[in-house]
């Protein structure tokens, strides 16, 4: 029965072709450092799922942000777990993506013909860091508030256009409810969409070029 369903679907969707291309690729003799890309992808998925769950209760307004998170932590069933995974997962994601980059660098995997894989990866690292930064403000407690004050002041030190960029980031001259709203928007809508799209390109390139060999003495 399951076999029949599978054959029916495969005939129409080319499942075997997808499986062979994506999961059953030929790869050279590699080591555990080569699993960090997959680990990054999985933690991105986990952040996506737990983030969607948190947004069920979270309210991005100065009035309710803190209270809604208190409710998530103390009132909602397993809220502490969902938020805990999202909280620690964010640090984990930055660490994993960064070590993934180091692996690519030290294994010289960024060279021809994989320059575009590297370049899209640079954007993925930047988007990851941006997700982490924008998410940090959302609890709207003192630590979150002052971290964003400092972060946007840093932006302000860029010569000539710095203060303009800082005000764009803040959505005004101060860190305010407008800042909270736009950080939430960027954190929960813009960046996940951008990350998903660029991950798609990145994965396409990884599959297209295959995994690079570990450099040997001759390289």
């Amino acid at each position: 029965m399951i076999e029949k369903v599978y054959v029916w679907l495969d005939e129409r969707m080319g499942l075997k072709g997808l499986y062979d291309t994506i999961l059953d690729r030929k790869i050279p003799k590699v080591n555990w450092w080569f699993t960090l890309g997959s680990a990054s992808l999985i933690i991105f998925t986990i952040q996506g799922v737990t983030g969607m769950m948190l947004s069920v209760y979270y309210i991005p307004s100065p009035e309710f942000a803190y209270d809604s998170i208190q409710y998530i932590m103390n009132g909602a069933t397993f809220g502490w777990l969902i938020r805990g995974i999202h909280h620690w997962g964010s640090s984990m994601m930055v660490v994993l993506v960064f070590i993934h980059m180091l692996r690519t660098f030290f294994m010289a995997s960024y060279k021809y013909p994989r320059e575009m894989t590297w370049l899209t990866g640079v954007f993925l690292l930047l988007f990851t860091v941006a997700s982490s930064f924008t998410g940090y403000l959302l609890p709207w407690h003192q630590q979150a508030y002052w971290a964003t004050v400092v972060g946007s002041e840093l932006m302000g030190t860029i010569p000539v256009i710095g203060s303009f960029l800082s005000n764009v980031m803040r959505g005004g001259y101060d860190v305010s409810g407008v800042t909270l709203a736009r950080f939430f928007s960027v954190h929960a809508l813009w960046l996940p969409a951008l990350l998903a799209a660029v991950i798609g390109v990145h994965l396409y390139l990884v599959i297209r070029h295959g995994i690079s060999n570990i450099p040997g003495e001759q390289d």
Binding site: V49, M53, V56, F64, Q70, A76, T77
Partner: protein, 161 residues
């Protein structure tokens, strides 16, 4: 896969182990996640209880009189107050009929029309008689009654939130 043979290849073993561990990890997030989203619907309501309607003399005999009250629920981090209305019909000194003013069709509020001697619902032209029975329109059942009690001349009703 392995037809007839009990031998499990290395590849099959890794596939199965990966599938099992992956499913456990997915369940560890998914099951708490389902509870996280469904839990508010499974909590006991706080608004159930006796509501005081004031002295019995406030309600004239034979005429349905509207009494409005609010009940509060805790939803997440906020208190939500809802307004409810009840028509008190005092048939005699101690015989009380307390009808909700929430139409049994789709939840609009009915009002007592003294000239017609009917409860009318404006949303879909529904009518109930003084006993709460449907006389016209789409409502599927009569207006429900509240349980009432009289203590030391004060009337109260039991509200199930």
């Amino acid at each position: 896969m392995s037809s007839g043979s009990h031998h499990v290849s290395r590849r099959e073993f890794v596939t199965i182990v990966t599938g099992v561990i992956g499913s456990i990890m997915a369940a560890l997030i998914a099951l708490p996640g389902i509870g996280f989203i469904l839990a508010p619907a499974l909590k006991a309501k706080k608004s159930t209880g006796w509501v005081s309607l004031g002295p019995l003399e406030n309600y004239p005999i034979g005429v349905p009189t509207l009494f409005n009250f609010t009940r509060t629920n805790i939803n997440g981090w906020e208190k939500t107050s809802n307004s409810y209305g009840v028509y008190i019909l005092r048939k005699s000194d101690t015989e009380i009929k307390a009808l909700t003013n929430v139409c049994t069709h789709l939840g609009c509020r009915v009002t007592w029309d003294e000239t017609q001697e009917l409860y009318g619902c404006p949303c879909h032209t529904a009518f109930f008689d003084i006993e709460g029975l449907v006389t016209d329109g789409p409502p599927p059942k009569p207006l429900p009654q509240f349980e009432t009690k009289i203590e030391e001349g004060n009337l109260s009703l039991y509200f199930e939130g």
